[in-house]
């Protein structure tokens, strides 16, 4: 008798299923897009690491069959920075939620972008703190109800693409879990991009957000993503803020070249030390020449 196996089992920890996410949650789709992107990329999986903080999205680190680190709340990026700089051969992907990355971890987000550490940050934005039961967060739209904004939210939200672009990210894109093909492409590009890349993934939280705001169920949100989105590649990040009653602007907003932290460090130190910096720096120049 042959055992039935899912074609992505080699990239998922099937022994950890079922997952913790609610029916209608979009995080599973985002995870599947990551796995499919990795499948298409064929980068060495043993050198691919997923780091997360705390929250529903952060559970992804424990469902993918890769080295996974489920760190403390907000600290996935600095942990990933240490991992990447101590072993530059690793492909380091941070997968976490908007509250984790942009509120408690906001300082690390902007500084990693400024340094241009070679990380890929995937931020699932479901507009709410899901794990703790639906409190407003740094991305919750104005007037939205949450358990801690019972009279409606009066804190303006972050426009995340603008925040990271202004901080120095070299790749910035936003998609929704409805746009899976485009999301997979974006993740592939972000993972292969050298430097700090950021993909915001809009996702429904039926339990914590939709229900409390009379926005219907997850399907309604998917319909919303389908009908109320406008794809504008290259849109100035400052103009893509999410506001109630306005179309969601999706696309690839930033894709530029800037030396990574590691490249700048090696270049700077090569002026002082013969090795290892000079040797590796010249290898890098050679590699670039071959590419062009």
């Amino acid at each position: 008798m042959s055992e039935e196996r899912h074609p992505l089992d080699h990239l998922l920890r099937a022994d950890r299923l079922p997952h913790i996410w609610c029916p209608g949650c979009g995080i599973g789709i985002a995870m599947r897009c990551l796995v499919l992107a990795l499948e298409e990329l064929r980068i060495p999986r043993d050198h691919t690491v997923v780091v997360s903080g705390i929250g529903c999205s952060a559970r992804v680190a424990g469902y993918v069959r890769l080295d996974g680190f489920h760190t403390t709340h907000g600290r996935a990026i600095p942990f990933a920075t240490g991992l990447k700089l101590a072993n530059p051969d690793l492909t380091v992907i941070v997968f976490s939620g908007d509250g984790d990355l942009a509120a408690i971890g906001g300082n690390h987000l902007i500084h990693a972008a400024r340094r241009n550490v070679d990380l890929t940050v995937i931020c699932v934005n479901n507009f709410i703190y899901g794990m703790t039961g639906g409190q407003f967060g740094p991305t919750t739209p104005l007037a939205a109800r949450s358990t801690t904004t019972p009279y409606g939210n009066f804190e303006p939200p972050f426009n995340l693409p603008a925040v990271v672009a202004a901080s120095g990210a070299v790749y910035v894109a936003r998609w929704t879990v409805f746009h899976v093909r485009r999301l997979i492409t974006a993740l592939r590009e972000a993972i292969t991009k050298k430097g700090f890349s950021f993909v915001e993934v809009l996702s429904p939280c039926p339990t914590g957000y939709l229900r409390r705001n009379q926005l219907g169920d997850a399907l309604d949100m998917m319909r919303f993503f389908k009908t109320q989105s406008e794809i504008r590649h290259g849109a100035p990040p400052a103009e893509v803020g999410i506001e109630l009653g306005r179309k969601l602007i999706l696309g690839k907003f930033v894709d530029v070249e800037r030396p990574t932290y590691h490249e700048r460090m090696r270049r700077q130190l090569a002026a002082f030390f013969t090795e290892p910096y000079v040797e590796k720096a010249s290898e890098e120049v050679e590699a670039k020449e071959v590419e062009s």
Partner: protein, 385 residues
């Protein structure tokens, strides 16, 4: 310029912070992430200068939380890593320190203590973080904390700290102080071959067979690094031997007991003490860090006056050397505990004395070290009770 040697063998005239950095390099530390803070900044400065010479990585982070997080990440990349700070930064590190204990991540955290609470006395000495070192992070755990008393010990104990951290897989704390960090004295760095180095136990078996949290007889599980193909899942959640999260009280019991027991059961290997004149002593001074050096002078003065006074220096403060203190409590008249806080380690001494010997605190809330005569006065008091 060529790559510099990691071990600067020879006789140096350097301050404690610099000696600490050199000790780290000699121990094999190749990653440092930190944030400037008085009086620990010189450790970061020295590491910034020296790590590139030995092919290591120095990183100045945006805050102390990021610093310890990067250190934990680097450790999981298989690199020995350290951060250094003082009180305010130490407070910020507490949560991630707990992540280090829970995930059994070797690393070294240096706290060059200054007067507190809050911003307190940035440039002046204190020993007010000793209990925070033991209990500062939430939940149950055991730690290892060492207290250097000299620039030489900043070098020596940093190596010991790395070795213990690698051996028992946990963050090890160096609880220094502003005087020991800034004192400039002779430091002898031995030849590299004479420096004992311990490296973490590595799992080298087949990939499918690795259980990240399956301990060996010493209660310490062998470790792997990210990128080695073992596909580990490491979480701060309560986890089973596979590293998988669990909400079972049995798993919690097994894990947390082991985290605590691996230190308690190996206390004999971890604890380091220095004693003088304890054999015939009626009164024993118990001190650590800079206060131990001041207490030594008080002992000399008391001895010169004919008092049978001994001196016990805690090199390892945590785990607390309960056994030795209990032995002494059975035969001495009193313990005298001078420290630069308003009563922290003295409580431990009192607990071990358990009423069998008197415990006399000599306390200052930091800002200056004791005058040996204050301690001498306490000695006289002990002989007159």
């Amino acid at each position: 310029m060529k790559r510099g040697p990691a071990v600067l063998t020879g006789v140096h005239f350097i301050n404690g912070d610099v000696a600490c950095a050199e000790g780290a390099l000699a121990a094999g530390c190749r990653f440092f992430a930190g944030y400037p803070i008085t009086p620990a900044t010189e450790i970061a400065e020295r590491m910034a200068e020296r790590l590139p010479e030995v092919g290591g990585t120095f990183l100045q982070m945006e805050d102390e939380i990021a610093s310890i997080s990067a250190v934990l990440g680097a450790s999981w990349a298989g690199v020995k890593a350290m951060t250094a700070t003082s009180g305010p930064g130490f407070s910020l590190m507490m949560e991630n320190l707990g992540f280090g204990y829970m995930t059994e991540t070797p690393c070294v955290i240096v706290n060059v203590q200054r007067g507190g609470p809050s911003t307190g006395l940035p440039t002046l000495v204190g020993q007010g973080d000793m209990m925070q070192a033991r209990w500062g992070s939430h939940g149950d755990y055991e730690t290892i904390a060492l207290a250097p008393s000299s620039a030489q010990e900043m070098f020596d104990l940093t190596i010991v700290a790395f070795n213990l951290s690698e051996k028992y897989r946990l963050p090890v704390l160096i609880m220094s102080d502003a005087v020991v960090g800034h004192i400039t004295e002779r430091v002898i760095i031995p030849p590299e071959a004479e420096i004992p180095i311990v490296n973490r136990k590595r799992f080298a078996g087949p990939r499918g067979a690795y259980l990240p949290y399956l301990p060996e007889d010493d209660l310490v599980p062998p470790m792997v690094a990210a990128g080695e193909g073992y596909r580990v899942y490491i979480t701060g959640l309560t986890h089973d031997e596979r590293g998988y999260p669990s909400t079972s009280p049995d798993v919690q019991e097994r894990l947390v007991r082991r985290l605590v027991e691996k230190v308690r059961r190996n206390a004999h290997d971890i604890i380091r003490l220095e004693e003088r004149g304890v054999e015939d002593a009626e009164v024993v001074l118990v001190a650590y860090g800079i206060s131990a050096r001041v207490a030594y002078r008080a002992m000399e003065l008391a001895r010169a006056a004919g008092r049978r006074v001994g001196w016990l220096r805690l090199i390892t403060v945590w785990p607390f050397p309960e056994e030795r203190l209990r032995e002494l409590a059975a035969r001495v008249r009193a313990f005298i505990v001078p420290e630069l806080n308003l009563g922290q380690i003295v409580r431990e001494v009192e607990r071990c004395a358990a009423g069998r010997a008197l415990t006399i605190p000599v306390l200052r809330p930091g800002g200056a070290v004791h005058d040996p005569r204050e301690i001498l006065a306490a000695i006289e008091e002990a002989f007159h009770v």
